[in-house]
Structures are given as C-alpha cells and as structure tokens.
C-alpha cells in the first residue's frame, strides 16, 4: 500500500526538541562561566530550577490536564535554565521552587502549554519572585559559594548613580565583558552569552533581527539617557540582563512576533523600554519588564505588521 500524502514529501528534519536542545547548548558557556565565578551555588540553583520546572510540568500534565507528557520538547528544561540564569546564585531552594511553579504553572501551562503562552514563562517566574521576594532577589553574591557569601552593588546600580550625577567609579568594560562582576547567575558574562548567540545564529535557531535591534536600540538610548557617554552606553549592553535578554529571552519563539519587520520593531521597543526603566524606574534593571511588556504587544504586531511581500509594489 503506497502512501499518497501531498507534497512536500521531504522534511528538513528539524524539530521542536532540536531547537530547544540548541538553546540549551548555547547556554552552556554562560553556565560554565557562572560556575567559575559563583562556584557551586550556580550549579545548585540551575539544576534545582530545571528539576522543579520539569517536576511541575509532569505534575500539571498528569494530574490537572490529564494529557500526555510534553517533556520531550525540552522546553521545560530551557525555562528552568533561563529562570535560574535570572536569579542570584545564592537564592534559597524554596524560592526557586515557587519561581518554577509560577513560570511553568502560570506562565505556560495555564495558557495551554508550549505554543499558547503569551508571556515568556521564565520571565513570568522571575518577575513574580522579584516582586514577592525583593530582598533575596536583589542581593547578588560577588564571589563563589552558595550560603553566607558577600554581596555588593551591581554595575547597573553604579551606572544609574553615575547618570544621576553621583561621583562613582564606573565598572571596567573588560570586567563587564568577561563577567567578573556581580549580578544574576547567568547574565554576568557578556562574552559567554555572545558566544552562544553566535552558535544560535549559525545553526539558524534564531535570526539576527531581534538581538541586533534590541542591542542597537539599547545602545542608542543608553547613550541618550546616560549622559551621552559611549563607555556607559556600551556597559549598558554588557551589564545586567541585557545580553541574556536580547539573545535568549526576547527571541523566545512563542512570545515574540513572527516576521522580520515586526521583530525589528519589537526589538527596538524592548531596547528603549529597558533603558527607560533602568534610567528612570525604581528598579536598576528593566530588561525583564521590557520583554514582558513587549510580549503583550506581540499579537498586535503579528496582526498589523506584515512581512515584505513578493510582487506587491508600494502605492
């Protein structure tokens, strides 16, 4: 009996699982750096975050939705890693568990699971934690270890003080690039994150549109809002969640728009909003909020911004 399905009769062989696996691989250099920088804390937080995300997804599909498990697509693992990357490396396990529950339960499964969620699940979890546990979420260790480690001001706080006219010692660009500064677990090393970003571009897992537009916009507005200082503008790109957000969070398939033009608009707005919040907001970091706000605009962008058409002349 011959199969008579319609064309195309061949497939690229790509799969959701492969896409997610590539993201995981791309995040490994940053994880390796975090382990070097923050020691075992980085591993404990990352592994437990992944474990909690996987666990909650199993529990929800099994006992609430009564649907087959969706772990195979690896998206819960990606969410787990990204959530961990967005929290301090000495965060208590019970807080991580709550973050994972909110990320998977509220951010993803409540909307209908992978593909149906409006907001980036990891960021939903992260922002929930930031608001619910502001103290634990904003004391970043500056050295290796998990418990009882020294904490200090992050470069972003220094940049904000600088913009407000305070006489502060700006962080070294090299430190920000390599990642020997304080901050959330996975966001510190710009170079490691960029390395993974190049991998994702080469493997065509993501396109350049979102990361480049976020970074360009953040640089331009960073220069405008932070005293027309190029060094500061560059450090705005290298510090905090900017790289992690631009390359790995804003490019989240499900919550970002779907054609090159709308992706550019989306990226430019994220860069602008992040810098706006960093400069004038109550929090030193605005990346998570900027991405979540633009997530909400994604359906609108999808509806009103059309791709470049073939054979349609502008009137």
């Amino acid at each position: 009996m011959l199969n008579v399905s319609l064309s195309p009769h061949v497939h690229s062989g790509n799969s959701t699982q492969k896409c997610m696996l590539q993201v995981i691989i791309a995040l490994l250099p940053a994880l390796a750096w975090s382990f070097y920088q923050f020691g075992t804390g980085a591993l404990i937080v990352t592994l437990s975050s992944v474990a909690f995300c996987v666990l909650f997804e199993i529990l929800i599909t099994r006992f609430l939705l009564h649907t087959p498990t969706t772990l195979g697509d690896l998206s819960a693992v990606v969410t787990g890693i990204l959530l961990a990357f967005n929290v301090p490396s000495n965060l208590p396990l019970w807080i991580i568990a709550i973050g994972a529950l909110v990320a998977i339960g509220v951010g993803k499964m409540a909307f209908g699971g992978l593909g149906a969620n409006i907001f980036n699940p990891a960021l939903v979890g992260r922002v929930f934690l930031l608001i619910a546990y502001p103290v634990q979420m904003t004391t970043w260790p500056t050295q290796a270890g998990y418990a009882d480690v020294e904490t200090g001001a992050t470069p972003l706080a220094l940049l904000k003080q600088y913009a407000n006219g305070a006489d502060v010692q700006l962080p070294e660009v090299m430190d920000c690039l390599v990642g020997s500064t304080g901050g959330s677990l996975g966001e510190v090393s710009a170079i490691a994150l960029l390395l993974g970003g190049v991998y994702l571009l080469v493997r065509k897992t993501i396109t350049w549109h979102i990361p480049v537009s976020v970074l360009v916009s953040a640089f331009v507005f960073g220069w405008l809002f932070f005293g027309f200082n190029c060094t500061v503008a560059v450090e705005e790109l290298l510090c905090g969640g900017m790289m992690l957000g631009a390359i790995y969070m804003a490019t989240d398939y499900v919550s970002s728009p779907m054609n090159p033009r709308s992706q550019l608009i989306y990226g430019l707005c994220i860069g602008f909003l992040a810098i706006l919040i960093r400069r004038f907001g109550a929090y030193p970091e605005g990346m998570s909020f900027a991405i979540l706000i633009m997530n909400a605009f994604t359906p609108l962008l999808n509806k009103y911004v059309k791709p470049q058409r073939f054979g349609v002349v502008k009137k």
Partner: protein, 460 residues
C-alpha cells in the same frame, strides 16, 4: 552569485542520477497515450480501434484554446480508446496502441545533423510549436503556443530558460544539457525569434558546474545573445517568479502575468522540444525522465516514449524495492504521490521518485511554537502559519487579507516546520475557496458594470 530575494530553503540535493547518461527506454508491446497531458482542456482523441498510426501521427486534437495536439509515440494499430489512471489516480481517456515496428512519419527529419539556420518566421514558429504539441516540460505542461502569444499590451524583452532543476533528485534537465547543449541554444534562438526579442538567459544552479561550463562554451560559439547565469543553490529557484527575480531582479506583480516583467520563461526541456519541432519537424513524442530514489538499484535518466507504462520504467531502473512506501511523479518538494504504478508516461513527467517506507511517513504534528521558520522560508513573503490556521478555521476573509492567493505551493513552509505541521495541506484547502470568491466578485463587478452601461446607453 545571483538568487531570488525572499525566503527559500535548502533540501538535500540527492542527485543520485547526475552521472547517469541518457538511456533509451525500451518500447513495450502496447502503449497507452493519455489525452490529458497539458494544463487546461484535455485533448480529444481522433483515432478509433483499428486505425494504423506511425510515430508522429496526430491522435488527439486540442479540446479548447488552452489545450494541445497529441501524437502517437509508436507505430502500430489503435487497439482501443479507454480510461486509464493518471499519476494521481484520476481516470482519463487514453489511446491504446499495439506496437508494430518503428515507422515514423516521413515529414520528420530523423538525421543526427544539427540544423542551425532558423528558416521559419515568427508566426510559422508558433504554428509549428502548436502542431507539434509542445507544452511546458518543467511539469506545469502549459501549452507553449499560448505562452508564445502574450497579450498585445505585453512588451517582451528577453527569454529566460529555466535550467535550474531545484527539485532534489531530478536530473533530467541536467542530463539533457550535457547531451544536447547546441540544440538547446538553437531552441532558445527560436524562442527569441518567436517573441521578437534578442536577449536570452539560461539560469542554472551552481550544483551543476559541468552543465554551466558546457552551456557557457556552447553559447560562446555563435550564440552571443545567450547569457548563462549561474545561480546560488536555493529552493524554489525554479519557480517562474523566483527565477525571473533571480535572473533579472524584477518581480512579477501579484495577480499579473510573468510577461509583465518583460521575461518569457521556458523550461530547458521545452527549448529542446521547440528545436526538434521547428528544425526537425518532430512532434513531442518522447522526453527524458529521471527514475531515482535511495533504494532504487540503478538511478537512471531515460529517454522514454509517451505512453510507456510507469511500471516498465521503474523495472528498467531495477524494479520497485521491497520497502517502498511512496512513489512520486516529479520531485519530492512539489511532485504528486502516485497511488500505484499503473499510470503512463506523459509530457509533464520529469521524474519518478521511489521513497522508502521510513521516508514516506510524516512525523506526527505537535503544537505550533511560533518559531516563524515558515515565514522566513516563504519565497512569496506570506505568513504560512496564519494562512494554514485561517484555512483550517474557515476564516476566508482573513486568508484573503493575508494574500493566500499568492501562494505558489512550493512547500518550503511545511519543509521547514519543526513542529511537522501540515501547513501546505491546509493552505491548499483554503486557497481555491478564496480564489473562487475573488472570481465570483470580479464576475459580479463586471456584470454590474455592464448593466450600468446598458442603463446609461438607454437613457441617451
């Protein structure tokens, strides 16, 4: 290197038969020549049981404006006119001819000499092309004489020859170029003369360096106006709109004819068939067909007479392998899956692709993760994810607004979908419905205009 501007994908080329020379396929004891071998109205059989025919005898007449002559590919006696399956399993009338000897019509020049001088004038060329039953050989089978007669408003500037062969596996055009470079160039000149233009391009993808080299050398010797354009490998470069865009940089306007760009596109096989028709008075009675597949013993390029059973051709390439799951007429991206091997060779069949069971099954679809790979792959600048969803949900207004009618059904979206979603299946459901609405709307508008004019005339 040039290519088209939007989208595109890179399926594995799998040109298994690209080193295989052209082999003449055996003529069986009985052929069945289908009367539906062209786009448009089927031809009408004009022979009956007992009629004697030679190779090249007309056995079918055009059944309308958009239709073609069909000629006997063998000599012998007409056995019956009966229904046969076409490649998709649809029943079409066919003339069965019992083969006796190999006698050709005297008017056909069977010598091996290459005739360079083009004696026929513009209209005579078009008439000859029609009389010889030439259709687009790339697979679309559009009657060539119709394409050579563009609307009077068109301003033809050049001829573009489609030698891209961007479909994986297929090598019929490739082998044809290697065997008949000079004849093809003369055929191109004939097409130029028919269109009244003096510039031609032959677009060839970069994975055929031997063909690019040979065609370039051939064109240098006496065909100065023919330019060989090597193209960067990308599917669907052989799509008419994509090829025009790649070669001369222009875009066929949405809803318009390709000739609006000044370019007339013809397949390289058509150029060769036109050469044989005009210079040798030989009707279209045979073509090159690739029989291939990973499990096929001897992937081959056959010169096969029309009406030869498809099963015979597969047998000549080593037979249908044990674990065959799908047999395709054409290439793997746009070809049609055949329900069985009971159909017969036709003018538009450029390849027969045998796929193993494991290759033939689609993977189960999972939820759309909105990765936008289909959007990036679409060569027409459409959003296949939305088109598919709108078709599925019957949201035809939205599908129209998203320009579902521009879809060329190349399959790039479905090919690249990581969730294995049947995007094109759904788009194929919605597209004809939207086209129907557009046609009905245009007809109603024309009717209203007519009525208004009649009313205005009455007033006067």
């Amino acid at each position: 290197m040039k290519t088209f501007k939007l989208g595109g994908v890179h399926p594995a080329a799998n040109k298994l038969s690209d080193k295989a020379p052209i082999e003449v396929a055996a003529v069986p004891a009985m052929v069945a020549i289908p009367m539906a071998q062209n786009l448009g109205a089927p031809s009408k059989a004009i022979v009956a049981k007992g009629d004697k025919v030679k190779v090249g005898t007309v056995i079918g007449e055009p059944g309308g404006f958009l239709s073609s002559f069909v000629h006997s590919s063998v000599s012998g006696t007409v056995d019956k006119v009966d229904l046969v399956e076409d490649a998709t399993g649809k029943k079409v009338p066919a003339v069965f001819i019992k083969v006796e000897g190999d006698e050709w019509e005297e008017s056909i020049d069977r010598s091996k000499d290459i005739v360079r001088e083009i004696k026929l004038e513009k209209q005579a060329i078009i008439d000859r092309v029609k009389a010889c039953g030439i259709v687009g050989m790339g697979g679309a089978t559009f009657p060539t004489q119709v394409k050579l007669t563009p609307p009077p408003t068109a301003k033809p500037e050049c001829v573009i020859i489609n030698a891209v062969e961007c479909e994986p596996y297929l090598t019929s055009d490739h082998s044809l170029m290697l065997a008949h470079a000079e004849e093809i160039c003369i055929g191109v000149q004939i097409l130029e003369k028919a269109m009244g233009v003096s510039k031609a391009y032959i677009g060839i993808e970069a994975n055929k360096p031997d063909a690019i080299k040979l065609m370039t050398e051939t064109a240098k010797n006496g065909f100065p106006e023919i330019e060989i354009v090597p193209l960067k490998l990308k599917y669907p470069q052989g799509g008419e709109k994509q090829l025009i865009n790649a070669v001369i940089g222009k875009e066929v306007p949405s809803g318009g004819l390709p000739i609006a760009t000044g370019a007339l596109v013809q397949n390289v096989g058509t150029a060769f068939a036109v050469y044989e028709a005009v210079q040798k008075n030989k009707p279209l009675i045979e073509r090159i067909v690739t029989v291939t597949g990973k499990s096929v013993k001897k992937p081959s390029n056959f010169l096969a007479r029309l009406g030869v059973p498809v099963a015979d051709l597969i047998a000549a390439a080593g037979g249908v392998p044990e674990d065959t799951g799908k047999i395709i007429s054409g290439g793997p991206m746009m070809g049609k899956a055949m329900p069985d091997t009971n159909s017969y060779m036709v003018k538009g069949c450029s390849g027969i692709l045998v796929m193993k069971n494991e290759e033939a099954r689609r993977k189960e679809a999972s939820p759309c993760i909105r990765c936008a790979k289909c959007v990036h792959a679409c060569p027409m600048g459409l959003q296949p994810n939305f088109l598919s969803k709108y078709s599925e949900l019957g949201m035809l207004d939205e599908a129209e607004a998203e320009r579902i009618y521009d879809c060329i059904e190349c399959g790039s979206c479905q090919f690249s979908c990581p969730a294995n979603r049947p995007l094109l299946d759904w788009i194929r459901q919605g597209k004809p419905k939207v086209m129907g609405i557009l046609r009905a709307r245009a007809a109603a508008a024309a009717e209203a205009k007519k009525a208004a004019e009649a009313a205005a005339a009455e007033k006067k």
